[in-house]
Amino acid sequence: MQIILNGESRDVAEGMSVEALVLTLADDPRGVAIERNLEIVPKAEHATTLLEDGDRLEVVQFVGGG
């Protein structure tokens, strides 16, 4: 199925969890926040939240800034 991840279209396995997706992006998921269809997915719900076709995901972290 297709999701939009940080603005880019991406193929992911059916029923993939948010947690599994995050682990493909960062070896240390601390300091990362997830927004799914404009709603924040709290860390405690990453494992139980399953992606659906057409989901729009934003995965963000802290970077340098003034």
Binding site: L5, N6, G7, E8, L25, A26, D27, G31, V32, A33, I34, E35, L38, I40, P42, K43, E58, V59, V60, Q61, F62, V63, G64, G65, G66
Partner: protein
């Protein structure tokens, strides 16, 4: 005379210098500059994880949140909605309620849009955030921001990244005199004397990024800023002499040969 500690939103700091983490040659240099500045609080931005390079150097591996208090910002936000969305994500990412709000108006000046800033401040405060707010040097809006519950008022000295110093010291002083929360000059500092001037005007602190990051020797400039903030603070507490139009001899007139 002993100074009172610098307290913002119930948190106490020894250093009155807050520095940014943008524009450095590397995060390692950034960390060295932060230590040379004696900074305890650093501003950070929130951005998409780089999908094409997941092994990219990470800020937190060098400028650790265990060593420095992170102050997430909303740089790049031009509406209240974008700023609120960004800081909710920042709270989820780091767990921090203390944030730097800035809502900008246009790319050319990055001047704060005060109407949107006030709107965002109200929403964030009702959502449990402690808001340190970047604002224009307009005492009227500064008072409105304080009245809705902002934890610190942070007027610009001059435009972000301009290095033009404090363009309107009178307004900064008016804001200092009327405010019951800390006033921190944010943006515009170009060199050490600008930081000292902010402190001499009675500000509780100074926030800067480019003045250090774009110095030829950022570590040495960070150290200069540390001393400037301390010197300016002590001069403010000491109380400067009166200004006179004519000379007043320093050596005694009696006993002249």
């Amino acid at each position: 005379m002993t100074d009172t500690p610098f307290t913002v939103a119930g948190r106490t700091f020894n250093s009155r210098l807050i520095i940014g983490t943008g524009k450095y040659a590397s995060y390692a240099q950034n960390a060295d500059a932060a230590r040379a500045a004696g900074a305890e609080m650093v501003t950070v931005a929130l951005r998409r994880v780089n999908l094409s390079n997941p092994d990219e150097d990470r800020l937190q591996d060098h400028v650790s949140p265990d060593e420095f208090t992170y102050l997430p910002n909303t740089a790049g936000c031009f509406t209240a909605d974008e700023a609120v969305r960004t800081l909710r994500l920042a709270r989820e990412a780091g767990g921090w309620n203390l944030v730097k709000l800035e809502v900008l108006s246009d790319q050319k000046t990055l001047y704060p849009d005060m109407e949107e800033t006030l709107l965002a401040a109200k929403t964030l405060i009702s959502d449990g955030f402690e808001v340190m707010v970047y604002c224009s040097d307009d005492p009227v809006y500064a008072r409105k921001l304080e009245d809705v519950g902002c934890a610190a008022i942070m007027p610009l000295g001059s435009l972000i990244g301009s290095g033009l110093g404090i363009q309107n010291p009178l307004n900064i002083r008016l804001i200092v005199e009327q405010s019951r929360v800390p006033v921190i000059v944010d943006a515009g500092v170009g060199t050490a004397s600008d930081a000292a001037q902010a402190m001499e005007l009675g500000c509780a602190g100074v926030l800067m990024n480019t003045a250090i990051a774009e110095a030829k020797d950022p570590i040495l400039m960070a150290s200069a800023m540390k001393h400037a903030v301390i010197a300016g603070r002590e001069a403010y507490l000491a109380g400067r002499m009166g200004r006179k139009r004519y000379a007043d001899p320093t050596s005694p007139l009696a006993g002249l040969i």
